[in-house]
Symmetry: C2
Subunit: 241 residues, 2 copies
DNA sequence: CTATGATAGTGTTAGTTATACACTATCTAA
DNA sequence: TTAGATAGTGTATAACTAACACTATCATAG
């Protein structure tokens, strides 16, 4: 709370203030595999290390606005799923000064990807979450594993997976996405049954041809207000947040 | 991320920095009812309004250390359950200056309560969550409802409820605690069955006499490493976080 | 000393959901 | 025409949920 101050005599300089940054863990699916966006640092500290994209917050923007700004600066995408994760504030996490970082997670569709290398970094790249760089800058390994954990746990009781898929997809593609993120195989028959019973999907007339039997394509229903919108569970296990 | 700076030429004054505070939503059970601790503000802004206890973060302490410090300053308790909730950072949330607040939730046992009125506030009081003040300071209504939502949802798949109970308790007391927080009645028989099957409780030889049949007292098992420690579910419904 | 009310605790059953796995369907390409 | 590949359906059993009836043990009133 904010009650250490005298009325009308508040002096902003009275207390030391930490720097506040926003880091955005950006996930996408590339060739059916879960990837995360990292940038390679150009300067001290952690020069040359890969890091989660982010930056300082402006004084006139909300945390979410800052996260959306960062996201757009790095990938050019807007209107994507964004969620606050956790705030990391260990006094030693940045060697320059006290930096408190509010971490966000974003899910973007594979389609819209126009990566931009900012002048603060050497490179920007998508990394498969199963093959990440050995060491990341700052405490970003911790941030990233927190994000992956959250993604997994929310996948089990929300419709988050749809945020990663294109507008039209097959049921087995959806199943594959779940398997990718959960890291385990799901039963085909049970998946079909559950997803159909959920009423979350809308059948389309489109099909996609492949090597075997062509597959029917579906769309995620965004209309339906209440029912089951966010309850689509696969397992009982759950992790603490 | 923190990469806008030149190596070794980092100038802390280069960017405006927001103030960062920690607010701690402290829950307890008093006479079997869920209560939350609020303090009454002495100064502008929101003079006279009730607020969630909190304060500015020191430059050399972690977020959690700051939360524990606040908690101890208000209630004198240590070693309690503490969890980071969410970070609130709307630019307009405090009329004095830009203030970003990291909210924590603490669960304390009814026993240890030595409230201290700090010189920043008129009063400190436990409020039943079913009878809160009409309006709270800042965006604290939002913070509080977030905390209650989190408490509810975690109750369903963790052993959080035990943090609110004394060391020895009866199974029906535990059931009552669940009912209090979830806001719904649970079936006695099913509760007995589930809680016993969970293996979370340890029977003691103690009983408590009352008006009817005396009740056996149980203890929460802290030993058991893995199994079911944090899976004790009551309902299927779940809310997004 | 017995009945009544109050609280504690157990048992049972029907309906639902999960799990595993076998089966059928429709396409391409040899 | 058949084999391989992928898509999609059906079903039996086990496990779990939800509702509720039942039994147990105390205090106290008559």
């Amino acid at each position: 709370m904010e009650e250490q101050e005298q009325a009308h005599t508040y002096d902003a300089a009275k207390y030391d203030r930490p720097s506040v940054t926003i880091d955005v863990v950006i996930f996408t699916l590339i060739e059916r595999e879960l990837h995360v966006l990292l940038v390679q640092r150009k300067r001290w500290p952690y020069e040359g290390f890969w890091a989660i994209p982010g930056g300082f917050i402006n004084m006139d923007e909300s945390l979410e606005q800052a996260a959306r700004r960062e996201l757009e600066e790095e990938t050019g995408v807007r209107d994507v799923y964004l969620e606050q994760l956790y705030t990391f504030g260990d006094p030693q996490r940045d060697p320059r000064t006290r930096v408190i970082s509010v971490a966000y997670m974003a899910l973007v569709r594979a389609e819209a990807q126009h990566l931009r290398v900012s002048d603060e970094s050497h490179a920007v790249r998508w990394f498969p979450v199963r093959a990440l760089p050995e060491a990341l800058a700052f405490d970003h390994e911790q941030v990233l594993s927190y994000a992956i954990g959250r993604l997994r746990s929310k996948l089990e009781y929300t419709t988050l997976a749809f945020q990663l898929l294109p507008e039209l997809f097959s049921i087995l593609e959806l199943k594959h996405t779940y398997e990718q993120i959960l890291g385990e195989k799901l039963d085909k028959g049970n998946f079909y049954r559950k997803i159909k019973e959920s009423g979350l999907l809308e059948e389309t007339t489109h099909v996609r041809e492949g090597r075997g039997r062509p597959t029917r394509l579906w769309r995620f229903r965004t209309d339906r207000s209440g029912d089951k919108q966010f309850v689509f569970r696969w397992r009982e296990d759950r992790v603490a947040r």
